[in-house]
């Protein structure tokens, strides 16, 4: 496991690289983290996933987007466009350093939406795995806002004085500026204009008709779509605590199968 900064000077992204267990390989995968609370909650699952993909013979790079984790910038430096570009930067870094000719992208929640957008942007991903994707940005933002309000209400019940009112640009500890919110609200995977990759795998837990509609849309765009329905621990949307250690083994197996499959 090798930690390193990469990207342009002053705008360096923090990444962790894992080498393929079997030695020489021309296949690489970039892991795309979810955002906010989901990022912290899924961190351990991403580390385990990274190890399994390396064991399956892939070069693996997981990294932090601008304004998140150890990467450059403050929360307000992030945007859908910036994060999409960051994924493309990570693909380039993996390609340059290890000569990966075949690249896959794996994203969870918002990271899945970003992986799909990056697949369209770079037109180089052979496979994209959408793990519990945020399909509709408007629903995602509304859900975060509802959780934030519920959290504030619960906080108020614990205290003599009501907590200082949150700025309206913060959601559960993350900054969400108005332009960022509007940007997210305007995004939907069901409105993708092009196929993100020749092969797309959906890995989902909830039986949500939105996922079926998404699979249909991706097929119409020309992708070969496989949909794996899994059970197990949810590693996103959790409150901070012990559950951060959970590892969803069935989902991880489905992802390794999807990425490892030879055409």
């Amino acid at each position: 496991m090798r930690p390193a900064y990469f990207g342009l000077p002053g705008r360096e992204l923090f990444g962790i690289y894992e080498a393929p267990a079997a030695g020489a390989s021309d296949r690489g995968v970039v892991l795309c983290h979810p955002h906010g609370r989901d990022y912290a909650a899924a961190f351990r699952a991403f580390r385990v996933l990274s190890g399994r993909l390396a064991a399956a013979g892939l070069h693996v790079l997981r990294f932090d987007y601008a304004g998140t984790g150890d990467s450059w910038g403050d929360a307000e430096d992030g945007s859908v466009a910036q994060w999409t570009e960051d994924i493309v930067t990570a693909i380039d870094a993996l390609h340059r350093a290890h000569g990966c000719g075949e690249i896959a992208l794996v994203g969870l929640r918002l990271g899945a939406m970003l992986a799909a957008l990056a697949g369209i942007e770079c037109q180089r991903a052979a496979r994209v795995v959408l793990w519990e994707p945020v399909v509709d940005g408007r629903e995602y933002v509304a859900d975060l806002q509802a959780r934030h309000r519920a959290w504030l209400a619960a906080e108020a019940r614990e205290r003599r004085r009501a907590p200082a009112l949150a700025q309206d640009d913060e959601l559960l500890g993350s900054r969400m500026t108005a332009p960022m919110r509007r940007d997210l609200e305007a995004r939907s995977l069901r409105a993708l204009p092009k196929a993100p990759a020749p092969h797309v795998a959906l890995v989902t837990q909830a039986a949500d008709p939105a996922y079926d509609a998404l699979a249909q849309h991706l097929r119409e765009l020309g992708s070969a779509v496989a949909h794996a329905r899994v059970t197990g621990a949810t590693v996103w949307n959790t409150t901070p605590g012990m559950e951060q250690g959970l590892v969803p083994s069935e989902a991880i197996r489905a992802i390794v199968d999807a990425v490892g499959a030879r055409r």
Binding site: M1, A4, D70, A75, A166, G173, P240, M242
Partner: protein, 269 residues
Amino acid sequence: MIERALAFPASASLVGVLTAPDAAPAAARPAVVWLNAGMLHRVGPNRLHVRIARHLATRGITSLRFDLSGVGDSAPRRDGLPFRAAAVRDAQDAMDAVGAERVVLAGICSGADLACRVALADTRVAGLVLIDGLPYRTRRASLHFATTRLIHYGAWRKLFAPRAVARLMRAGGPAAPTVSSGLGKRDIPPMAEAETMLRTLTERGVRILAIYTEGREYAYRRQFAHSFPSVRRDRVRVEYLEGADHTFTLRANQDRLVRTIEEWLTVWH
């Protein structure tokens, strides 16, 4: 500001990020080492360790945030050390990686508890920033929690039922709604043992900034003094951030934390 990704010690099993000022820091200034808050990786809850490290770099202070073995990006140790001893050794490896003669260890929650144990084992530790560290409920704190619950549940009548008050004091109030206190079960020593530990450290000259948020365990400014009456007051500064939650979810409370730590650190000579 310069940031570098580090893998250390020789086995490169621990992962960290060093944040340093552009100019070489003044030699007298201690470096800050952040310890994990529970299971959260080195960036800290709501990315606080990153924010504070970058802010301190603009004030000429170097910081390292890293993951203990088995946490975040760091691999488990292979030497079979038990968890508590391993965590102390990891922190010492981190101090070696920073290379500073004097270090301030900082941690939130379990990170604060660990910081105290590391300080006992290593004299390079000259200061501690303990955020919600070593919380012990005093009688007054229990009364505070009980009455807060009564206020919110509008159960004023219960005030006149002495048995109800006694029960609430024992329990610290009715079961709370699920607020993310994140505390869970803490691996902390008995209060008397913690007091001895803090007394030993302050008598050695270790300076302590103890910051408490308003939570399930801490309720008023003087709770630290009431918990540890024999600890030297001149070496300890206690800040009670009323209204702040355990993980500093709101930006305004993050700002208060950054300011509190910056003020305390920049008066070091």
